[in-house]
Amino acid sequence: MDVDYALLKKGGFMRQKQKNCFSLRLKVVGGHLDAKQLSVIAEVAEKYGEGYVHLTSRQGVEIPFIKLDDIDDVKTALAKGDCEPGVCGPRVRTVTACQGKAICPSGCIDTYALAQELSERFFAKDLPHKFKFGVTGCQNNCLKAEENDIGIKGGIEVKWIEDKCIRCGVCENICRTKAISFEGERLILDESKCNCCGRCTKACPSDAWENNEGYILSFGGLFGNRIHKGEEIIPIIHDKKTLFRVIDTAVAFFGEYAKPGERFRFTIERIGEDIFRKIIEEAYNG
């Protein structure tokens, strides 16, 4: 029987150097695995692999040394622990995320919830080449948003509430971009300098800020053979409807214009950055 390696790869079975052995990639969203999943992964690695797993660079789990003949049994065993194989090849890959505001004091957005939404909408979607999403909660950028084809970074747009402010000066002193200054009793926020990191509002002892959470998008990041930092081309987005309209548009652009095996960044370069920018701006404006 001929083995369809492309189909196996699509289903997360990565062919190893060793004959008839596969490193099985599992589906993971935002680096989140519960105890039941971990337990079944351990069982499968013991029984069908060599008793260990490899943690991939993008928060995935692979179980090496799965034998070709065991593939169906392995899938069945994993399903019992709510695990399923992941994907490889030309399609939307694992959506990565930091822990975000649900856990991290610095987080500005609920990264894991967004990663789940993105994964449900796009995971395994066939495209001309691999396509990666990454969600990071704030400017600290633990999840390295700009190395993804589409990166999403949480931010907070702030507005000063004059009558709650006690003029303690904490915000002015901790602002990294020097966007905040005082003229006597008045706070001056220079919006051209503000990067929406949210440090001022998080440190404020008197809650003297109105917070407007949002998503800062970057497009066309690469971190492989060529390195390119994904670029921000539109302002921070505050609602999911606009966010998904812009993302849908970017993915559709890639699906329509990319040549097989061409990463998003190269498609943008070949078709024209100005054209791509215009399409994204139109989607942003609705």
């Binding site: 004091p105 303690c168 904490v170 440090r199 440190a203 404020c204 008197s206």
Partner: protein, 81 residues
């Protein structure tokens, strides 16, 4: 800005997170409600977190003064128990 008289001083420049907050918390617990503590701290993480933590503990941040050597003095009034 309102005037204040400092009743006690503590220096947390010799410790790092999370001991910065612990040391400040221990110092303010020695005071009576309404008394004022000055907390000497380094730039960076302590300035980001200690003022907020003090507020969450029910105390009132009055002022953050920047010193010439890059350190800060946070002026906090102890809240009611």
């Amino acid at each position: 800005m309102a005037d204040y008289n400092i009743d006690e001083y503590t220096d947390i420049t010799d410790v790092v997170c999370p001991v910065t907050f612990v040391k400040a918390k221990v110092a303010i617990e020695e005071l009576e409600p309404g008394q004022v503590l000055s907390i000497h701290m380094n730039a960076g993480e302590p300035v980001q977190n200690v003022p907020r933590s003090m507020k969450e503990e029910g105390h009132k941040v009055l002022k953050l003064n920047k010193n010439d050597d890059g350190t800060y003095d946070l002026i906090v009034e102890k809240g009611d128990e």
